[in-house]
Symmetry: none
Subunit: 208 residues, 2 copies
Protein backbone atom coordinates (compact mmCIF):
# COMPACT_ATOMS: atom_id res chain seq x y z
CA UNK A 1 0.00 0.00 0.00
CA UNK A 2 1.28 3.37 -0.92
CA UNK A 3 1.99 5.64 1.93
CA UNK A 4 -0.05 8.78 2.30
CA UNK A 5 1.40 12.19 1.72
CA UNK A 6 0.86 14.86 4.28
CA UNK A 7 -1.91 16.54 2.34
CA UNK A 8 -3.66 13.24 1.84
CA UNK A 9 -3.63 12.54 5.54
CA UNK A 10 -4.85 16.02 6.21
CA UNK A 11 -7.77 15.60 3.86
CA UNK A 12 -8.65 12.24 5.32
CA UNK A 13 -8.65 13.62 8.82
CA UNK A 14 -10.76 16.54 7.81
CA UNK A 15 -13.26 14.15 6.31
CA UNK A 16 -13.18 11.90 9.31
CA UNK A 17 -13.65 14.70 11.79
CA UNK A 18 -16.25 16.65 9.88
CA UNK A 19 -18.22 13.89 8.29
CA UNK A 20 -21.48 14.66 10.08
CA UNK A 21 -21.35 18.21 8.83
CA UNK A 22 -22.34 16.97 5.42
CA UNK A 23 -26.00 16.06 5.04
CA UNK A 24 -25.01 13.56 2.35
CA UNK A 25 -21.67 12.07 1.42
CA UNK A 26 -19.99 15.09 -0.15
CA UNK A 27 -19.18 15.33 -3.82
CA UNK A 28 -15.78 16.37 -5.03
CA UNK A 29 -17.04 19.90 -5.60
CA UNK A 30 -18.50 20.18 -2.13
CA UNK A 31 -15.35 18.86 -0.52
CA UNK A 32 -13.32 21.26 -2.62
CA UNK A 33 -15.25 24.16 -1.25
CA UNK A 34 -14.99 22.96 2.34
CA UNK A 35 -11.27 22.62 1.93
CA UNK A 36 -10.92 25.92 0.17
CA UNK A 37 -9.61 24.37 -3.00
CA UNK A 38 -10.44 25.60 -6.47
CA UNK A 39 -9.78 22.55 -8.59
CA UNK A 40 -11.80 19.39 -8.56
CA UNK A 41 -9.12 17.60 -10.51
CA UNK A 42 -6.50 18.28 -7.89
CA UNK A 43 -8.69 16.94 -5.14
CA UNK A 44 -9.48 13.88 -7.18
CA UNK A 45 -5.83 12.94 -7.16
CA UNK A 46 -5.82 12.90 -3.37
CA UNK A 47 -9.09 11.03 -3.08
CA UNK A 48 -7.76 8.37 -5.42
CA UNK A 49 -4.79 7.86 -3.15
CA UNK A 50 -7.12 7.50 -0.17
CA UNK A 51 -9.18 4.95 -2.06
CA UNK A 52 -6.02 3.00 -2.80
CA UNK A 53 -5.18 3.17 0.88
CA UNK A 54 -8.55 1.63 1.72
CA UNK A 55 -9.78 4.63 3.67
CA UNK A 56 -12.41 5.85 1.24
CA UNK A 57 -15.04 3.74 -0.50
CA UNK A 58 -14.26 3.31 -4.20
CA UNK A 59 -16.65 5.05 -6.54
CA UNK A 60 -18.83 2.23 -7.78
CA UNK A 61 -18.40 2.54 -11.51
CA UNK A 62 -21.85 3.49 -12.66
CA UNK A 63 -23.26 5.37 -9.68
CA UNK A 64 -22.58 8.91 -8.62
CA UNK A 65 -22.34 8.36 -4.95
CA UNK A 66 -20.42 10.89 -2.90
CA UNK A 67 -17.26 10.41 -0.91
CA UNK A 68 -17.75 7.88 1.85
CA UNK A 69 -15.37 6.53 4.44
CA UNK A 70 -14.84 2.79 4.48
CA UNK A 71 -15.92 0.69 7.43
CA UNK A 72 -12.29 0.35 8.40
CA UNK A 73 -11.74 4.09 8.47
CA UNK A 74 -14.86 4.59 10.57
CA UNK A 75 -13.76 1.92 12.97
CA UNK A 76 -10.38 3.55 13.29
CA UNK A 77 -12.19 6.77 13.99
CA UNK A 78 -14.32 5.29 16.74
CA UNK A 79 -11.54 3.31 18.30
CA UNK A 80 -8.76 5.69 17.38
CA UNK A 81 -6.29 3.40 19.10
CA UNK A 82 -5.72 5.15 22.35
CA UNK A 83 -7.16 8.56 21.75
CA UNK A 84 -10.79 9.53 22.22
CA UNK A 85 -12.53 12.68 21.07
CA UNK A 86 -12.91 15.21 23.84
CA UNK A 87 -16.25 16.72 22.99
CA UNK A 88 -17.01 19.18 25.74
CA UNK A 89 -18.18 19.82 29.25
CA UNK A 90 -21.24 18.51 31.00
CA UNK A 91 -22.92 20.38 33.81
CA UNK A 92 -26.13 19.35 35.47
CA UNK A 93 -29.01 21.33 34.06
CA UNK A 94 -27.27 22.54 30.94
CA UNK A 95 -26.77 21.11 27.49
CA UNK A 96 -23.36 19.70 26.78
CA UNK A 97 -21.16 22.61 25.96
CA UNK A 98 -19.68 21.46 22.73
CA UNK A 99 -16.22 22.43 21.61
CA UNK A 100 -15.51 24.12 18.34
CA UNK A 101 -12.48 22.02 17.61
CA UNK A 102 -12.77 18.49 18.88
CA UNK A 103 -9.40 17.27 19.99
CA UNK A 104 -8.24 13.87 21.06
CA UNK A 105 -7.19 12.66 24.43
CA UNK A 106 -5.11 9.54 24.82
CA UNK A 107 -6.98 7.21 27.14
CA UNK A 108 -5.68 3.93 28.56
CA UNK A 109 -7.51 0.91 27.20
CA UNK A 110 -8.36 0.19 30.81
CA UNK A 111 -10.75 3.11 30.95
CA UNK A 112 -12.64 2.42 27.76
CA UNK A 113 -15.06 -0.16 26.56
CA UNK A 114 -14.76 -1.88 23.21
CA UNK A 115 -17.55 0.31 21.86
CA UNK A 116 -17.12 3.85 20.58
CA UNK A 117 -16.43 6.25 23.42
CA UNK A 118 -15.91 9.92 23.98
CA UNK A 119 -14.66 12.13 26.78
CA UNK A 120 -16.45 14.85 28.72
CA UNK A 121 -15.30 17.12 31.49
CA UNK A 122 -17.55 17.28 34.55
CA UNK A 123 -18.84 20.55 35.89
CA UNK A 124 -20.55 20.61 39.26
CA UNK A 125 -20.80 18.41 42.31
CA UNK A 126 -23.91 16.39 41.67
CA UNK A 127 -21.99 13.11 41.72
CA UNK A 128 -19.42 13.92 44.37
CA UNK A 129 -20.44 11.12 46.71
CA UNK A 130 -19.68 8.72 43.88
CA UNK A 131 -16.18 10.17 43.79
CA UNK A 132 -16.83 12.20 40.64
CA UNK A 133 -15.72 15.75 41.23
CA UNK A 134 -15.88 19.04 39.44
CA UNK A 135 -13.21 19.10 36.74
CA UNK A 136 -12.88 15.34 36.38
CA UNK A 137 -12.81 13.82 32.93
CA UNK A 138 -15.23 11.00 32.27
CA UNK A 139 -15.07 8.41 29.51
CA UNK A 140 -18.52 7.73 28.11
CA UNK A 141 -19.53 4.75 26.02
CA UNK A 142 -21.90 5.87 23.30
CA UNK A 143 -25.16 4.00 23.89
CA UNK A 144 -28.88 4.81 23.98
CA UNK A 145 -29.93 2.43 26.72
CA UNK A 146 -28.75 1.61 30.21
CA UNK A 147 -29.12 -0.93 32.96
CA UNK A 148 -30.44 0.19 36.29
CA UNK A 149 -27.73 1.44 38.58
CA UNK A 150 -25.44 2.59 35.81
CA UNK A 151 -24.22 6.17 35.65
CA UNK A 152 -25.50 7.74 32.47
CA UNK A 153 -25.26 10.89 30.42
CA UNK A 154 -28.91 11.75 29.90
CA UNK A 155 -30.52 14.47 27.85
CA UNK A 156 -33.72 15.73 29.46
CA UNK A 157 -36.52 17.30 27.46
CA UNK A 158 -34.08 17.62 24.64
CA UNK A 159 -32.15 20.48 26.10
CA UNK A 160 -30.39 19.78 29.34
CA UNK A 161 -27.75 17.16 29.85
CA UNK A 162 -26.70 15.59 33.10
CA UNK A 163 -24.61 12.84 34.64
CA UNK A 164 -26.58 10.71 37.11
CA UNK A 165 -27.40 7.24 38.35
CA UNK A 166 -30.38 5.83 36.49
CA UNK A 167 -33.27 3.65 37.68
CA UNK A 168 -35.86 2.74 35.12
CA UNK A 169 -39.24 1.22 35.90
CA UNK A 170 -42.34 0.97 33.70
CA UNK A 171 -43.67 4.46 33.17
CA UNK A 172 -40.96 6.41 34.93
CA UNK A 173 -37.25 7.12 34.98
CA UNK A 174 -35.33 8.18 38.08
CA UNK A 175 -32.16 10.22 37.75
CA UNK A 176 -30.39 10.01 41.06
CA UNK A 177 -27.56 12.32 42.08
CA UNK A 178 -24.80 11.19 44.40
CA UNK A 179 -25.09 14.26 46.56
CA UNK A 180 -27.30 14.30 49.61
CA UNK A 181 -27.92 18.00 49.12
CA UNK A 182 -29.66 17.27 45.84
CA UNK A 183 -32.86 15.43 45.09
CA UNK A 184 -33.75 12.62 42.75
CA UNK A 185 -35.53 13.74 39.62
CA UNK A 186 -38.45 11.74 38.21
CA UNK A 187 -39.29 11.86 34.54
CA UNK A 188 -41.46 10.14 32.01
CA UNK A 189 -39.43 7.78 29.82
CA UNK A 190 -40.05 9.90 26.74
CA UNK A 191 -38.45 12.91 28.42
CA UNK A 192 -35.14 11.19 28.94
CA UNK A 193 -32.73 10.31 26.19
CA UNK A 194 -29.68 8.30 27.17
CA UNK A 195 -26.54 9.44 25.42
CA UNK A 196 -24.02 7.12 26.95
CA UNK A 197 -22.87 5.41 30.08
CA UNK A 198 -19.89 6.00 32.27
CA UNK A 199 -17.02 3.55 31.77
CA UNK A 200 -13.97 5.46 32.96
CA UNK A 201 -12.83 8.48 34.87
CA UNK A 202 -9.68 10.56 35.19
CA UNK A 203 -8.56 13.31 37.50
CA UNK A 204 -5.54 15.57 37.49
CA UNK A 205 -4.21 17.02 40.70
CA UNK A 206 -1.84 19.41 39.05
CA UNK A 207 -2.60 23.08 38.94
CA UNK A 208 -2.92 23.92 35.29
Amino acid sequence: MTELTRRQRQIFEFLRDNYERFAYPPTLDELCESLGMASRGSLHKHISALIDAGLIEPFSGSKQTGIRLTAQAQRDYAACEHALPYVGKIAAGKPIEALADVHYLPVPALLKSDKPCYVLQVKGDSMKEAGIFDGDWVVIEQRDYARNGEIVVALIDNHEATLKYIEQSPGKVLLIPANSAMTTQIYAPEQVQIQGILVGQMRSYRVH
Copy 2:
Protein backbone atom coordinates in the same frame (compact mmCIF):
# COMPACT_ATOMS: atom_id res chain seq x y z
CA MET B 1 27.92 3.68 14.71
CA THR B 2 29.19 7.19 15.03
CA GLU B 3 28.72 8.83 18.32
CA LEU B 4 26.39 11.74 18.56
CA THR B 5 27.59 15.26 19.07
CA ARG B 6 26.04 17.40 21.74
CA ARG B 7 23.85 19.29 19.33
CA GLN B 8 22.67 16.11 17.69
CA ARG B 9 21.64 14.65 21.01
CA GLN B 10 19.91 17.90 21.85
CA ILE B 11 17.96 17.86 18.63
CA PHE B 12 16.97 14.25 19.09
CA GLU B 13 15.71 14.91 22.59
CA PHE B 14 13.75 17.90 21.45
CA LEU B 15 12.13 15.77 18.81
CA ARG B 16 11.47 12.94 21.20
CA ASP B 17 9.91 15.18 23.81
CA ASN B 18 7.89 17.35 21.52
CA TYR B 19 6.83 14.89 18.90
CA GLU B 20 3.10 15.15 19.58
CA ARG B 21 3.26 18.87 19.19
CA PHE B 22 3.53 18.33 15.49
CA ALA B 23 0.30 17.38 13.80
CA TYR B 24 2.35 15.60 11.14
CA PRO B 25 5.92 14.44 11.05
CA PRO B 26 7.73 17.74 10.75
CA THR B 27 9.64 18.79 7.67
CA LEU B 28 13.12 20.18 7.86
CA ASP B 29 11.75 23.69 7.57
CA GLU B 30 9.26 23.20 10.36
CA LEU B 31 11.84 21.68 12.65
CA CYS B 32 14.18 24.54 11.82
CA GLU B 33 11.62 27.01 12.98
CA SER B 34 10.84 25.10 16.16
CA LEU B 35 14.53 24.98 16.95
CA GLY B 36 15.06 28.58 16.05
CA MET B 37 17.46 27.78 13.25
CA ALA B 38 17.62 29.66 10.01
CA SER B 39 19.24 27.14 7.71
CA ARG B 40 17.63 23.98 6.47
CA GLY B 41 20.96 22.76 5.18
CA SER B 42 22.56 22.93 8.60
CA LEU B 43 19.78 20.99 10.22
CA HIS B 44 19.98 18.41 7.48
CA LYS B 45 23.50 17.56 8.54
CA HIS B 46 22.34 16.76 12.06
CA ILE B 47 19.35 14.78 10.92
CA SER B 48 21.60 12.71 8.70
CA ALA B 49 23.71 11.82 11.68
CA LEU B 50 20.60 10.80 13.64
CA ILE B 51 19.52 8.63 10.75
CA ASP B 52 22.92 6.95 10.76
CA ALA B 53 22.51 6.41 14.48
CA GLY B 54 19.23 4.62 13.85
CA LEU B 55 17.13 7.11 15.78
CA ILE B 56 15.36 8.71 12.87
CA GLU B 57 13.68 6.93 9.99
CA PRO B 58 15.61 7.30 6.75
CA PHE B 59 13.88 9.42 4.15
CA SER B 60 12.34 6.88 1.81
CA GLY B 61 14.00 7.75 -1.45
CA SER B 62 11.09 8.96 -3.51
CA LYS B 63 8.65 10.20 -0.93
CA GLN B 64 8.63 13.44 0.95
CA THR B 65 7.81 12.06 4.29
CA GLY B 66 8.64 14.22 7.26
CA ILE B 67 11.05 13.48 10.08
CA ARG B 68 9.94 10.41 11.98
CA LEU B 69 11.46 8.62 14.93
CA THR B 70 12.33 4.99 14.40
CA ALA B 71 10.41 2.28 16.19
CA GLN B 72 13.29 1.88 18.58
CA ALA B 73 13.39 5.56 19.42
CA GLN B 74 9.61 5.59 19.88
CA ARG B 75 9.75 2.63 22.19
CA ASP B 76 12.32 4.35 24.33
CA TYR B 77 10.16 7.41 24.18
CA ALA B 78 6.97 5.59 25.08
CA ALA B 79 8.61 3.82 27.95
CA CYS B 80 9.46 7.00 29.71
CA GLU B 81 6.98 9.51 28.39
CA HIS B 82 3.54 8.14 27.61
CA ALA B 83 3.56 4.93 29.50
CA LEU B 84 4.30 4.68 33.18
CA PRO B 85 5.40 1.65 35.12
CA TYR B 86 2.61 0.02 37.08
CA VAL B 87 4.46 -1.05 40.17
CA GLY B 88 1.83 -2.54 42.41
CA LYS B 89 -0.91 -2.02 44.92
CA ILE B 90 -0.94 0.20 47.93
CA ALA B 91 -3.09 -0.49 50.95
CA ALA B 92 -3.05 1.43 54.16
CA GLY B 93 -0.95 -0.36 56.71
CA LYS B 94 0.92 -2.57 54.32
CA PRO B 95 4.03 -2.11 52.25
CA ILE B 96 3.55 -1.61 48.57
CA GLU B 97 2.85 -4.98 47.15
CA ALA B 98 5.36 -5.03 44.35
CA LEU B 99 4.68 -6.83 41.14
CA ALA B 100 6.97 -9.46 39.75
CA ASP B 101 6.76 -8.16 36.22
CA VAL B 102 6.38 -4.44 36.01
CA HIS B 103 4.23 -3.55 33.09
CA TYR B 104 3.49 -0.22 31.53
CA LEU B 105 0.27 1.68 31.44
CA PRO B 106 -0.29 4.42 28.88
CA VAL B 107 -1.28 7.55 30.78
CA PRO B 108 -2.54 10.80 29.29
CA ALA B 109 -0.08 13.65 29.66
CA LEU B 110 -2.87 15.40 31.51
CA LEU B 111 -2.52 13.08 34.46
CA LYS B 112 1.23 13.23 34.88
CA SER B 113 3.76 15.78 35.88
CA ASP B 114 6.94 16.45 33.98
CA LYS B 115 8.92 14.52 36.56
CA PRO B 116 9.26 10.73 36.68
CA CYS B 117 6.01 9.07 37.68
CA TYR B 118 4.64 5.63 38.38
CA VAL B 119 1.24 4.06 38.84
CA LEU B 120 -0.25 2.29 41.85
CA GLN B 121 -3.59 0.67 42.42
CA VAL B 122 -5.42 1.70 45.56
CA LYS B 123 -6.65 -0.84 48.08
CA GLY B 124 -8.99 0.29 50.83
CA ASP B 125 -11.20 3.23 51.59
CA SER B 126 -8.96 5.51 53.60
CA MET B 127 -9.24 8.29 51.02
CA LYS B 128 -12.81 7.79 49.91
CA GLU B 129 -13.99 11.24 50.93
CA ALA B 130 -11.36 12.65 48.59
CA GLY B 131 -12.97 10.66 45.81
CA ILE B 132 -10.26 8.00 45.79
CA PHE B 133 -11.86 4.59 45.94
CA ASP B 134 -10.77 1.01 46.32
CA GLY B 135 -9.48 -0.20 42.97
CA ASP B 136 -8.63 3.22 41.54
CA TRP B 137 -5.31 3.75 39.84
CA VAL B 138 -3.24 6.67 41.01
CA VAL B 139 -0.39 8.37 39.21
CA ILE B 140 2.41 9.25 41.60
CA GLU B 141 5.22 11.70 40.97
CA GLN B 142 8.43 10.30 42.40
CA ARG B 143 9.58 12.79 45.02
CA ASP B 144 10.94 12.64 48.58
CA TYR B 145 9.35 15.81 49.91
CA ALA B 146 5.88 17.30 49.91
CA ARG B 147 4.03 20.51 50.55
CA ASN B 148 1.41 20.53 53.28
CA GLY B 149 -1.98 19.51 52.00
CA GLU B 150 -0.68 17.30 49.24
CA ILE B 151 -1.69 13.68 49.02
CA VAL B 152 1.40 11.53 49.39
CA VAL B 153 2.59 7.98 49.25
CA ALA B 154 4.43 7.59 52.54
CA LEU B 155 6.42 4.73 53.91
CA ILE B 156 6.12 4.48 57.68
CA ASP B 157 8.79 2.93 59.86
CA ASN B 158 10.22 1.46 56.72
CA HIS B 159 7.58 -1.19 56.31
CA GLU B 160 4.08 0.08 55.75
CA ALA B 161 3.00 2.28 52.90
CA THR B 162 -0.05 4.45 52.72
CA LEU B 163 -1.80 7.13 50.73
CA LYS B 164 -2.80 10.12 52.85
CA TYR B 165 -2.95 13.88 53.13
CA ILE B 166 0.20 15.23 54.75
CA GLU B 167 0.74 18.08 57.19
CA GLN B 168 4.28 18.68 58.34
CA SER B 169 5.28 20.87 61.25
CA PRO B 170 8.59 21.03 63.15
CA GLY B 171 8.97 17.78 65.02
CA LYS B 172 5.94 15.94 63.75
CA VAL B 173 4.21 14.70 60.66
CA LEU B 174 0.45 14.19 60.34
CA LEU B 175 -0.94 11.65 57.93
CA ILE B 176 -4.61 12.46 57.51
CA PRO B 177 -7.10 10.06 55.93
CA ALA B 178 -10.13 11.28 54.01
CA ASN B 179 -12.47 9.00 55.87
CA SER B 180 -14.31 10.13 58.98
CA ALA B 181 -14.25 6.57 60.31
CA MET B 182 -10.45 6.68 60.48
CA THR B 183 -8.13 8.76 62.57
CA THR B 184 -5.17 10.94 61.80
CA GLN B 185 -1.82 9.35 62.56
CA ILE B 186 0.99 11.37 64.09
CA TYR B 187 4.62 10.41 63.52
CA ALA B 188 8.08 11.73 64.08
CA PRO B 189 9.62 13.07 60.87
CA GLU B 190 12.24 10.34 60.82
CA GLN B 191 9.56 7.66 60.81
CA VAL B 192 8.00 8.92 57.59
CA GLN B 193 9.61 8.60 54.20
CA ILE B 194 7.80 10.28 51.34
CA GLN B 195 7.83 8.20 48.19
CA GLY B 196 5.83 10.41 45.91
CA ILE B 197 2.87 12.69 45.60
CA LEU B 198 -0.45 12.21 43.87
CA VAL B 199 -0.75 13.92 40.49
CA GLY B 200 -3.40 11.90 38.68
CA GLN B 201 -6.10 9.34 39.13
CA MET B 202 -8.03 6.89 36.98
CA ARG B 203 -11.05 4.70 37.53
CA SER B 204 -12.67 2.04 35.41
CA TYR B 205 -16.37 1.28 35.77
CA ARG B 206 -16.28 -1.84 33.69
CA VAL B 207 -16.55 -5.22 35.29
CA HIS B 208 -13.31 -6.95 34.52
